[in-house]
């Protein structure tokens, strides 16, 4: 086969080497625009997994590469005047220039033709080639020419970064966080040989502009960064290689091949540098493509399909992790004031690839420090994992950080809690939950979701709740009673066959912030007038008093799920033109009035929580800043914890049910508003709970028990 390789970076060279080795009859030319010794960037990082692949693919180059490696196993996090070290991570890095030298020499040894300083503005020079491998990097010419077929998308990140070297030898991957006059700057630095390290400086676009770096030339940027990180550089210099401030571009392509052209490495995909995987992914691509061509020597299409089937899922996972990682660095200001140990834990678990269990495996000492910090017991040698740390709330102490929800079966009669429902609450307590969260308990008959929703609008409703609270407490748990009013989502049929199915004949009249039906089939609710507002606030307070008298340990006020109070919060459901609508403050006014009434009726020594919608998952809905402001206001009005929820403000939404989809929102509310939170959203294992808690993303986790109950 006659093979043309566009681009003489690591991916192109490595592919050429492997393909030639596999079949010396292949005629292979690598075309590179730069000189053999020109290179950008400093060092590149590999994982153990990649090294294994390189070892199996070409032993001579593996030996040379690994001989010159810098290897280390620690990550240092320099933050808040302290350096926190965690170990067991295992990295290797090599100078990019050295890597290219090795690969160029190996290519020549096996008979690959290398043509440097040759531009290829189009694919014309490859017209006589059976196979064209485009390894021409993030600005790939081939990808641009075949855009219609490959369907690339390019997303530019908001942060700015600059890529330096330094003659400072490091012995760990080092993150430095430094708050300067104009904002936070962070460093990603790692050694790549005995006396040189890569030193990347990053900041948000706003900080970059405020510091005047958008106007700075190369020398000024070096001077600025050297000055800012003088303590870490310790007299060493930053080295520039035409270093400029740039934005990272994430490349994705629907297809990586068309006709006889196939993309490799950065040409096909990029993953934000904060997870340091670009060269690793590119070289793994080269291995996969060379092997696929060996399996299908006479069928390019089949080989390309194999290659994509193998590599695309891997790349997508890294891109997802890279996106989470990049977002973390964009929001790092949020963690100002974190203890350095918890900060480091939050940083290490940012992309979801490493959890508490993996940290414990890598460095038991570090994990113990995290657990000790979390448990607030610095004097102990071994502290319980975060899940088993008690949580104090007013006079109540929850035994652990796991909440279980007792599912709604719509089995109440006239608001009287069913015996089976009480048993579900007790069973969740017996299962070991620190707190058991009830289904919605209506403050009024017209506040029920279905005719089977339990209530607390009458004194004779209280008996079963008192008994349930006693039973739950007997298991060492606490009952959190979720008090609410279904609003325009009321009067629906039992939810076995679907939600928001109106009762035949219309049920009871509905109330809401505004007269907007929830679904096209739902009845139009009445927009609440002054009398309604007064009455409903009173109903909440009266129900809270009954719950208190019944000995319920925690009260949750439901400002979520598109129910009555949640409806007031959102511009999608609240179109009022009085003082209870309009601005975010206006929309929050009535829910706060209800919270005040409830707080006044609820004992001072018992915790009051709020279930709060933080995003409507719909265009024109709540903004994240509004949710943070609402959480802050609720805390000021006596709420001790926010249960973070999303969606359902309207019937049609664009939800994100991705992995741990509420954890990011919980992190936002907890750390921007400074309010304790409970997060749920697909948390199914103890390790996930430990990770979320240890990193300071929530204080309590609502566990979906399906993983454990299936066994």
């Amino acid at each position: 086969m006659r093979i043309g390789v566009l681009g003489g970076g690591p991916a192109g060279l490595y592919f050429a080497l492997l393909a030639k080795r596999a079949d010396p009859a292949h005629e292979i030319t690598v075309v590179e625009r730069n000189a053999p010794d020109a290179t950008f960037g400093w060092g590149v990082v590999f994982s153990e997994e990649t090294l294994g692949a390189l070892r199996d693919a070409d032993h001579p180059s593996y030996t040379e590469i690994s001989d010159t490696f810098a290897r280390w196993s620690a990550i240092d996090v320099v933050y808040g005047g302290r350096t926190v070290r965690s170990g067991g991570h295992v990295f290797s890095a090599i100078a990019r220039r050295r890597l290219l030298e090795i690969l160029q020499r190996r290519c020549r040894d096996v008979g690959v033709e290398l043509a440097f300083q040759r531009e290829a503005p189009d694919l014309e020079p490859f017209a006589d080639r059976d196979l064209v491998v485009a390894a021409d990097g993030v600005n790939s010419t081939a990808r641009r020419l075949l855009a219609a077929q490959l369907r690339p998308t390019l997303d530019s990140h908001r942060s700015r970064f600059i890529w330096f070297g330094t003659d400072l030898p490091l012995d760990a991957f080092t993150f430095v966080f430094r708050t300067a006059e104009h904002g936070m700057f962070q460093v990603h630095a790692y050694p790549f040989d005995a006396d040189t390290s890569t030193f990347i400086v990053e900041c948000t676009e706003g900080t970059w502009r405020a510091a005047g770096l958008d106007q700075a030339g190369e020398a000024e940027s070096i001077a600025f960064c050297q000055d800012l990180f003088a303590p870490e550089l310790d007299g060493h210099k930053l080295l520039s290689n035409r270093s400029l401030w740039i934005s990272f571009v994430t490349v994705r392509c629907r297809s990586w091949h068309h006709g006889n052209v196939v993309l490799l490495g950065d040409a096909a995909h990029t993953a934000h540098f904060t997870i340091g995987s670009g060269t690793k992914l590119a070289m793994e691509d080269a291995v996969a493509l060379a092997q696929a061509l060996q399996r299908h020597p006479a069928a390019l299409e089949a080989a390309f399909t194999d290659y994509e089937l193998e590599r695309q899922p891997v790349v997508e996972r890294f891109q997802e992790a890279a996106r989470d990682s990049a977002t973390w660095f964009e929001n790092v200001r949020r963690y100002d004031g974190f203890d350095p140990v918890q900060f480091a834990c939050n940083l290490l678990t940012r992309s979801g690839r490493i959890g508490h269990l993996e940290l414990t495996r890598r460095d038991p000492g570090f994990a113990a420090a995290v657990d000790r910090f979390f448990a607030g017991r610095p004097e102990t040698l071994v502290a319980p994992p975060p899940l088993f740390a008690p949580l104090g709330q007013r006079a109540l102490t929850l035994a652990n950080r796991v909440a279980l929800a007792a599912g709604a079966e719509d089995d109440a009669t006239d608001g009287h809690l069913a015996g089976a429902a009480a048993e579900r609450l007790a069973a969740a307590a017996a299962a070991g939950a620190g707190v058991v969260v009830s289904e919605l308990v209506a403050v009024a008959p017209d506040g029920r979701v279905t005719p089977g929703t339990p209530g607390l609008w009458a004194d004779d409703h209280a008996g079963p709740w008192a008994e349930a609270a006693r039973q739950v407490a007997a298991h060492g748990s606490a009952l959190a009673l979720r008090l609410g009013h279904a609003g325009r989502r009321g009067a629906t049929r039992p939810r076995r066959t679907g939600v928001d199915r109106p009762l035949p004949g219309g049920g009871w009249p509905l109330l809401a912030a505004s007269a907007i039906a929830y679904t096209p089939a739902s009845p139009v609710p009445k927009a609440m007038d002054a009398g309604d507002l007064e009455r409903v606030a009173g109903q909440f307070a009266a129900a809270a008093r009954r719950a208190a008298d019944a000995g319920v340990q925690v009260l949750v006020c439901d400002l979520a799920h598109g129910y009555l109070l949640g409806g007031f919060l959102s511009p999608l459901a609240n179109r009022r033109d009085d003082e209870l609508g309009g601005s975010p403050e206006g929309r929050l006014r009535f829910p706060l009035r209800v919270v005040d009434a409830v707080r006044a009726a609820w004992p001072d020594d018992r915790p009051l929580w709020a279930a709060l919608t933080v995003t409507d998952w719909a265009a024109g809905g709540l903004e994240p800043e509004e949710a943070v402001a609402a959480a802050r206001a609720l805390a000021a009005h006596g709420c001790d914890l926010i249960q973070v929820t999303a969606g359902q403000t309207t019937a049609v939404t664009r939800p994100d049910y991705g992995r741990f989809h509420l954890v990011g929102w919980s992190d936002l509310v907890r750390n921007d508003a400074g309010v304790p939170t409970m997060a749920g959203g697909g948390l199914t294992t103890a390790d996930e709970v430990n990770t979320v808690l240890a990193a300071g993303r929530a204080d309590l986790c609502l566990l979906d028990p399906r993983t454990y109950s299936r066994a």
């Binding site: 089949a302 390309f304 399909t305 994509e308 599912g407 939810r495 076995r496 019937a651 939800p655 979906d704």
Partner: protein, 278 residues
């Protein structure tokens, strides 16, 4: 996990006799269900016609659409067809609905593809309503109508499923892809506070000992997806080992019902598959 098999209603070479022979033999074999696909602009047999015929020659297997493209059809007529099939099969229908992947199917029927997701959401709610009201008969044998499954991979699709359906039907792929979709289905179900749990249905393609013919059909069936067709074809399960790994992978991923869809029409495939499944 139960394992069912597809009817050869989209594969080349199946005639009426062949499809009925297939249904009869599958019903006697170890298969829990018979599944059909839906495409308008293709040489495929209409799903309700195919399952009605299958109902007449089978007594045991569940009959499942994986899926019927809901928004292509008038909802009242769809309700009647499904209720009729439920009656003819003595309550064996499971109705899977989704929006489909092709706009030419919509154009062929003069239906606007815009807003098809929202229409499917409404349709799911209306179907129940129609079955329960009973004005458009017949009364389904299964109380409240046949179980409804909904498919799709967007957040909206999962919300739609949890809002109105009884379960989720996945569109195929490796077990890892199913597991990711199943996690979202669960998350949506919990989010909307539905009692019980979602039924989770998966599917895969097979042609035991006839890989090339099966792959050729898949490349043709998925030609509209461009290069993706080759990937689907590469996933065709063509060895006993591949089928076993796939079945085990789906079981581990929490699948309740897996339907293996044929990519060739030869009824001998049923015996080979039955042997593999043991």
């Amino acid at each position: 996990m139960e394992v069912g098999v597809g009817l050869p209603t989209t594969t080349p070479g199946a005639d009426g006799t062949g499809i009925l022979e297939w249904a009869r033999r599958a019903d006697q074999g170890p298969f829990a269900s018979l599944g059909v696909l839906d495409r308008m602009v293709y040489r495929s047999v209409e799903p309700f016609a195919a399952l009605s015929a299958a109902a007449a020659v089978t007594t045991r297997a569940r009959l499942v659409t994986m899926v019927v493209i809901g928004p292509l059809r008038n909802t009242a007529l769809l309700a009647k067809q499904a209720a009729s099939l439920d009656l003819l099969s003595a309550g064996r229908l499971t109705l899977g609905l989704a929006i489909g992947a092709r706009t030419d199917d919509y154009r062929a029927l003069g239906v606007d593809p815009d807003g098809r997701g929202r229409r499917l959401g409404e349709q799911l709610a209306e179907l129940r309503e129609l079955w329960e009201k009973g004005e458009v008969g017949p009364e389904p044998v299964q109380p409240g109508g046949p179980p409804l499954l909904a498919g799709g991979l967007s957040g909206e699709a999962f919300a739609r499923m949890a809002r109105c359906a009884d379960g989720y039907v996945h569109g195929g792929g490796p077990p890892r892809a199913f597991a990711a979709a199943a996690a979202r289905a669960w998350a949506a179900w919990r989010d909307l506070e539905r009692p019980g749990r979602p039924e989770l249905w998966g599917q895969g393609y097979f042609a035991l000992g006839d890989a090339d013919a099966g792959a050729a059909y898949l490349r043709d069936y998925y030609a509209f997806t461009g290069p993706f067709a080759s990937k689907v074809a590469a996933g065709n399960l063509s060895s006993g080992r591949a089928v076993k790994d796939f079945v085990r992978g789906y079981e581990d991923a929490g699948c309740d019902h897996l339907v293996l869809l044929p990519t060739v029409s030869d009824p001998a495939q049923l015996d080979r598959l039955a042997d593999v499944l043991g």
